[in-house]
């Protein structure tokens, strides 16, 4: 599996301070015995937040599904609290592709344990309409976008920002409060045109901390946000959607949901456009293109 360098250096404690409200609600839900879905965009740090919850709770069991092949959907029966990662692998978009998810949901419903399941936002939006998963996970907590000041402090704490000290000072003075109150679409358009590098990074990352790191490392803001890829075919856009919901997926899973004849061509096209990386039989979403990918799919009404 491809190493995700962009999340490895953030401590769970840092994440907890960034998502204090959400962590508080999570803890309250677990204490009340409510099965909870923790939902976020890819690379936004939800699994690391589970790490913090795990150390906070003491006796919680971790269950992790690393791929579709691993995700058999069984819920063990020997703990009071389960923290489940990788739920996005529990289904595939084919007939009978929801069996593992349904088995998992039935297991959670019958169990007396409290389950916190982490979900990719776009996978969750789909499965809660396609199945009855939200009848069992009645509480869902969605991690919000971070503002400019949070992104700036995060980047400053992890990288050498000597060249951008003045931008950081400016961000600290302004507090980022004014633009942070604007609707996201307007905020990000303003940010893209800003001279302040942290506002640009926030705009290009959509307030996603993992993507922000990737944007900083690859200096994406220097290329601008011009989209010179041209229009994707519907087939390519749908494959991009599948990769978005899975984040990291095997070729054989993609073969089941897209046309096998065009699989390699679509992977090549998306890879050339910078949306995905293909290596060792797996296709992974590139974090620095996440915002652009979501915009394209929204324009096609493929994400909702």
């Amino acid at each position: 599996m491809m190493e995700r360098a962009y999340v490895k250096t953030v401590s769970a404690k840092d994440l907890k301070s960034l998502f204090e409200d959400e962590f508080g609600r999570l803890k309250q839900a677990v204490d009340a015995g409510k099965n909870t879905a923790l939902v976020s965009e890819p690379y936004a740090g939800r699994d690391m937040l589970l790490d913090e919850l795990s150390s906070n709770l003491g006796g919680a069991e971790r269950v992790s599904f690393g791929s579709v092949a691993d995700a058999e959907g069984d819920v063990p029966e020997d703990a009071d609290v389960y923290l489940v990662e990788g739920c996005r692998y529990l289904y595939t978009r084919r007939i009978d592709g929801f069996e593992n998810l349904e088995s998992f949901v039935d297991g959670v419903a019958e169990s007396e344990a409290t389950v916190v399941a982490s979900w990719n936002l776009y996978a969750w939006s789909y499965v809660r309409q396609a199945t009855e998963v939200d009848d069992v996970f009645r509480e869902d907590i969605v991690l919000p976008e971070l503002g400019t000041s949070s992104i700036a402090e995060l980047v400053a704490s992890e990288y050498d920002i000597t060249d951008f000290k003045s931008d950081l000072e400016e961000t600290r003075e302004e507090g980022g409060d004014i633009t942070d109150r604007l609707p996201a679409g307007i905020r990000f358009r303003l940010g893209e045109r800003s001279d302040n590098v942290f506002e640009q990074i926030t705009a290009l990352s959509g307030g996603n901390l993992g993507v922000a790191r990737s944007v900083f490392e690859s200096r994406t803001w220097e290329d601008g946000s011009e989209d010179d890829v041209g229009e994707l075919s519907y087939e390519d856009a749908f494959m991009l959607l599948v990769v978005l919901t899975k984040e990291d997926v095997e070729h054989q899973v993609l073969e089941e949901v897209v046309s096998p004849n065009s699989l390699e061509k679509s992977i090549r096209k998306l890879s050339d456009a910078g949306y995905v990386e293909s290596d060792d039989g797996r296709v992974t979403l590139r974090p620095e293109r996440l915002v652009n990918a979501v915009e394209r799919l929204e324009r096609r009404n493929l994400v909702w």
Binding site: I95, Q129, W304
Partner: protein, 283 residues
């Protein structure tokens, strides 16, 4: 002289000469070019986003109407300066022209203006009109253009809208319900068949699922076979045929894999010839 009443000898008579005619023709030509350009620009803008397409296209007939109305006002404005004799002569000519056979053209134009405000359908809607079904691609002053699923362009005179029923499948929305039908043998495992159809609808790459847009499968018992009607919403009205094809292909492949058989053709024909199936039940 009575105060407040204009002295008619002071009203300048309006002369229609070659300059006036050329000016009118030039004004109408400019209006035509402007209207075409505005429609083109708005169409290009609308195609950038599926979600905003119908909203942006809604402004096309409105913009065209405003441009033509302004041009007509500019051209016909001087008519208000006609003497009573000239006005009477003009009315007579207009009445004769209408009576001579272009009353339908006039009726279409009036209907076109009314449609701008009443909107029985908008550009981008999928409508059924008498024998024609297709996407409304243009609403003009005189007629409406539909593009059928076979890519034929049908031109419908606007006045027909007011004398015929129009069925609108999506009413301005990007999403639209589509029905896909399957027929299975009477002795088949109906629960399994329903489950396959339901999943086939949910997993389609063209489906749109939301709290208001779910998936339904209705079962109808016919003599010798069962009819399954799968209903779901698609994410873009233009994906209707692709959705039907996608769902049909996947469901039939699964039916074959699991031995879910199609009905005997003769039973289906006998039923279609004269009987009525029992009432459907929702699965």
């Amino acid at each position: 002289m009575v105060s407040g009443v204009p002295d008619l000898t002071e009203v300048q008579p309006f002369d229609i000469d070659s300059t006036t005619v050329v000016g009118a023709v030039f004004t109408l030509a400019v209006a035509y070019v402007l209207a075409r350009f505005a429609a083109y620009a708005l169409t290009r803008l609308s195609e950038r986003s599926v979600k905003r397409r119908t909203t942006v296209k809604m402004f096309i007939p409105v913009t065209r109407s405003v441009i033509y109305a302004a041009a007509l006002y500019y051209v016909l404005g001087p008519l208000f300066n006609l003497t009573s004799g000239q006005l009477l002569a003009f009315s007579g000519v207009l009445g004769a022209v209408l009576g001579l056979g272009i009353k339908e053209l006039f009726a279409n134009m009036v209907a076109g203006i009314v449609m701008v405000f009443e909107s029985p359908y908008r550009t981008g809607d999928k409508v059924e009109f008498r024998d024609y079904y297709g996407e409304v691609t243009d609403i003009g002053i005189r007629s409406t253009k539909l593009t059928t699923p076979d890519d034929s362009v049908v031109t419908v005179p606007n006045y027909l809208v007011f004398t015929n029923a129009v069925s609108n499948a999506n009413a301005g929305s990007v999403e639209m319900m589509v029905v896909v039908e399957f027929h299975v043998a009477a002795d088949t495992d109906i629960d399994r068949a329903v489950s396959v159809v339901r999943e086939g609808l949910k997993i389609s790459r063209y489906v749109h699922l939301s709290d208001n847009h779910g998936v339904q499968v209705l079962v109808e018992d016919r003599r010798g076979y069962r009819r399954l009607r799968g209903k779901a919403y698609i994410n873009d009205v233009r994906n209707e045929q692709a959705f039907r094809s996608d769902v049909t292909e996947r469901v039939l492949a699964k039916f074959e894999e699991e031995g879910i058989e199609s009905p005997d053709v003769s039973a289906a024909l006998l039923d279609d010839a004269g009987s009525v199936g029992s009432a459907g039940e929702e699965a």
